[in-house]
Symmetry: C2
Subunit: 207 residues, 2 copies
Amino acid sequence: MTDKKQGKIRVKSQEKILDAALDEFITHGYKGATVQSIADIAGLPKANVLYYFKNKENIYHAVLEQTLDMWDQGIGDIIYEDGPKRAIEKFVTSKVRMSFDHPKSSKIYAMEIIQGAQHLKEFARTYLRQWVREKAKVFQQWINEGRMANVDPVSLIFLIWSSTQHYADFETQILTIMNRADYEEEDAEHVIQFLTDFILRGLAIDE
Amino acid sequence: MTDKKQGKIRVKSQEKILDAALDEFITHGYKGATVQSIADIAGLPKANVLYYFKNKENIYHAVLEQTLDMWDQGIGDIIYEDGPKRAIEKFVTSKVRMSFDHPKSSKIYAMEIIQGAQHLKEFARTYLRQWVREKAKVFQQWINEGRMANVDPVSLIFLIWSSTQHYADFETQILTIMNRADYEEEDAEHVIQFLTDFILRGLAIDE
DNA sequence: AAACTACCTGTGCATTTGGTCAGGTAATAG
DNA sequence: CTATTACCTGACCAAATGCACAGGTAGTTT
């Protein structure tokens, strides 16, 4: 009861602000986003937004942090013990699900990278690079054991990333081409099916 | 000689402005870009920029148009007569080359789509949709003739788009991960090799 | 050389922006 | 009930922005 009642409003307001900011930053980029607009979307006075977050950059950092957390959390790992078939299935599935369930996260991330990754240089240099190296090693092991085709593991990782994230980042284009207003449940399943089949075949994995 | 000497300065200046604008729009988005900054990059006074292009939106439209022209021009077609193998090879090759040679074009295009395609809705609705339908039909024919695996042609097109454009849009991330400053000649060739091999295998095309 | 057109740009201005701040109210603790 | 803290916000401001415009210069045509 005494828990932390004090922070209740704080948490609620911050959530509203971050949600609003996510939309604003996606549609207008960092420089184009305005605190006033974020405040309007959140339904709060600008001064209140700046009461919780010292300045615009602060808001942006908070949004990015939230996004990276989600990335971290939602990404199925690639572990040796699973073997190539199961690992690919798990990874592709979780990436596609992420794209359909949280397209906004994928979008700001993509914008950040396209614009030069000013705010993510460090993340990419340390965390990401490490991650790719580790997973590439796992793929290489499977290749050495003759359990999958001999392809460049790093290129393979890029292919999986791009083909799965595409459904989040290019959502607008895909929907327009398919003449639809929104994704539906079955769409994600269809994409998962297509991509896993395709990639497994591309890697000559039957098992 | 009398050709059109009058327009010489005009053309030169406009080129400088559009080049500058491309950079500015990529790094700051439409709203975040400023005419002053474009002028600075182009090495011209702001008033001169606005002499050639009425206003900011005008500049942006010109940049987008230029980009779409390049897209149109640089994209190898997918034609039935080539057969699946040759067609995939040609298409993937030209898409990858575009990504490595003109990453900026791919980038503003990507930004536009991510931000909701406000300025490209019409293009996507008419031109793109048509293009995808036509090409999907060609793939379907090959499938019916048993010349490639029975996959959803539209998903296939998305996979090729995403996996090739990735090298342009996510250039920064890829370079950082590979701990490199720039792409080199051989990189494009390596990617072309990897993707064509992989996709042909994924489509069960040997021939 | 006169007339005409393309090219150029400093100055000005209304508007928008990020951010401060003083002066509050509500909630909680002692 | 009092003191302390968390929460809230209208009003303000300096800086930046998109853009109009007037008053030019350079080049071309006749």
